[in-house]
Subunit: 363 residues, 2 copies
């Protein structure tokens, strides 16, 4: 199955990124040892947090570089590439540490979130106001992740002719993410509906351009393949939209055991999804009160509610309209892949598998 | 008076950095206009926040570059230098936005802090849990400041032969700041005393190396003066220690109207200062309960308490020991200045004035 090409690629690259992150944390702990409070503990916590993820973003930096002809097999180039991939994971770790504070999430990947763990420790040490202490330390750890990501970039890009461009790309896309996150926080805080165009802009900035276009394009630039930047950026936008729509689907109707989240977790969080916007726009007046209550979060949605949502989405053509959008994005992604110049065969297969993965994954 | 050479230098360079920050915000608002929620409002808030400060760090980047022979009078080099200085101010804005959340500060420079203003707005818009919304948006705005700082760096350093080294310097020192801030948060949360060595490590990382050594060294590297990096880093460490000790003094005994903070604000916050550590170490047993109560924060210290602290510090030799430390740091700073290779005369005068400024400023 083609999706396997992507998942086994992620697993293989994870095997390069994880040791790079651990080595980086150890080296930086010694470089930063003059800081008060001890750098080693914080840096190993950063590495551990990164290691808990699938490392898709880091893998995509490898993939972009390989598409551009880089040799990731060994040597100094492969080492710098692993540092570039590690930077992608460190950015993500910082964003997650901060997001979990904003969303008040206590668990991630089955373990306590960064600030929840700090809060537990502060509480154990008898600190009054332990939650606030945990959040403060979580903000700091997120900041540390960002700075360490830029430090890793500085190392990976030292003397690289396109280093300045890669730095501008990373910081520019991260600014988009910060702005998108502000929009997301505001939408979560207010009851009003969000126009579909804004939701799609959020998907584009927070998922597509950040999680897909950025690592692919950074990898391509790292390999010196400037001609690849535009097509992999376009490709990443399609992949990201597909990924996000599948994410919304899993967040609403996914199996709890597979996603690691609770049943209908997106409903509980009142998340402003494309599905929600289209269903509310299409629903007849008499359905609106029940829908609004469900989508407002807080309500305990049971299996009956979810079956009702599913049925309505089918009857009202919401499923069809989203499926049509998905099919178009998938077709565009495959067209971009066919037009990519001179990509190694093995890399092309992983890219094809990636399209399947974002469209059909079940976790 | 020599201190004036520094303060009028800050004012003059502020006149270059402020318009650079405003132009940057306008340009970035247009580059980031695809982000949801509107980039312009957030970026102008970032610029406004930066503009509220004295811009000492940005000015020091200019000073380091001028010491290295850069011409800051006009042209492309002066423009990139202003962007480098703007990056220093953006880093500081991000750190302050996050610090104010951690410290629960509601005002800074006589205006509401970033998160307090967001919280006010959320409350006005009827959001439940407005404080949390304000903090979440404050975290995002701080993140945005960091990413915009690195974006400004990428622009300023494009094609610069030492660009990678300047990036590594900035990110490395910022990681030290994040670690120091974690130590500070932990010390604030716990009742235990902090060893003097740890307090001095905090002063070195959070004030000296970050606020003084970093901008001076980044400016020197920008000017290509690699030989200046070591001495201005050493100089910055002395300046920072002098600045911080004076800051502690102003935080305890400064005039409210001059510092813009409340009377004895450091006492109220239970800040772990060098003065506190030495006074507690030197105090006779019978004084300890009253001192501990005062230093624990929360207690409403009046003018009598402050007079008592002042008198004790004199009698117990704490003032003398700190004055000796200050005198040594000042002497070392002046010795470093005398040994600096080939610095323009006007720049040397500002550097001399800077030593006076950090030692004797009254706000």
């Amino acid at each position: 199955m083609s999706m396997d090409a992507a998942t086994s690629y992620f697993a293989a690259r994870r095997g390069k990124i994880a040791p790079a992150l651990e080595a980086l944390a150890a080296r930086r702990a010694s470089e930063l040892s003059a800081a008060p409070g001890g750098a080693a503990e914080s840096l190993s916590r950063v590495a551990e947090f990164c290691l808990g993820g699938k490392m898709i973003r880091g893998s995509l930096a490898f993939l972009g570089a390989e598409a551009g002809g880089a040799d990731s097999g060994g040597g100094a180039q492969a080492e710098d590439l692993a540092a570039l991939a590690a930077a992608m994971e460190l950015f993500q770790a910082g964003l997650l540490a901060h997001d979990d504070i904003m969303d008040r999430d206590e668990t991630r990947r089955g373990a306590p979130t960064v600030h929840a763990r700090y809060a537990e420790e502060a509480s154990g040490a008898g600190a009054p106001d332990a939650l606030h202490v945990g959040e403060a330390l979580g903000i700091c750890l997120g900041d540390l992740c960002y700075f360490e990501a830029f430090a890793a970039l500085a190392g990976a890009l030292e003397g690289h002719p396109l280093g300045g461009r890669i730095l501008a790309l990373c910081s520019g896309v991260l600014s988009e993410v910060a702005l998108a996150q502000m929009a997301d926080v505001r939408w979560g805080a207010m009851k009003a509906d969000v126009p579909e165009a804004e939701i799609l802009a959020l998907y584009r900035c927070k998922t597509a351009r950040y999680s897909f276009s950025l690592p692919l394009a950074a990898g391509a630039l790292y390999a010196g393949a400037e001609a690849l930047v535009a097509p992999v950026t376009e490709l990443g936008e399609r992949l990201g939209i597909l990924f996000q729509i599948r994410d919304d689907e899993l967040g609403l109707f996914g199996e709890t055991s597979a996603t690691g989240k609770g049943l209908a977790s997106d409903l509980r969080e009142g998340k402003k999804t494309l599905f929600r916007a289209r269903l509310l726009a299409a629903a007849p007046t008499e359905e609106l009160p029940r829908l609004r209550e469900l989508f407002a979060g807080g309500a305990d949605a049971g299996p009956d509610d979810l079956r009702h949502l599913r049925r309505l989405a089918g009857e009202l053509g919401v499923d069809d309209s989203i499926a049509a959008m998905t099919a178009r994005a998938e077709e565009e992604a495959r067209a971009i892949l066919r037009a990519l110049p001179r990509v190694p065969r093995a890399t092309a297969e992983v890219l094809e598998g990636l399209v399947d993965y974002v469209t059909r994954r079940d976790r």
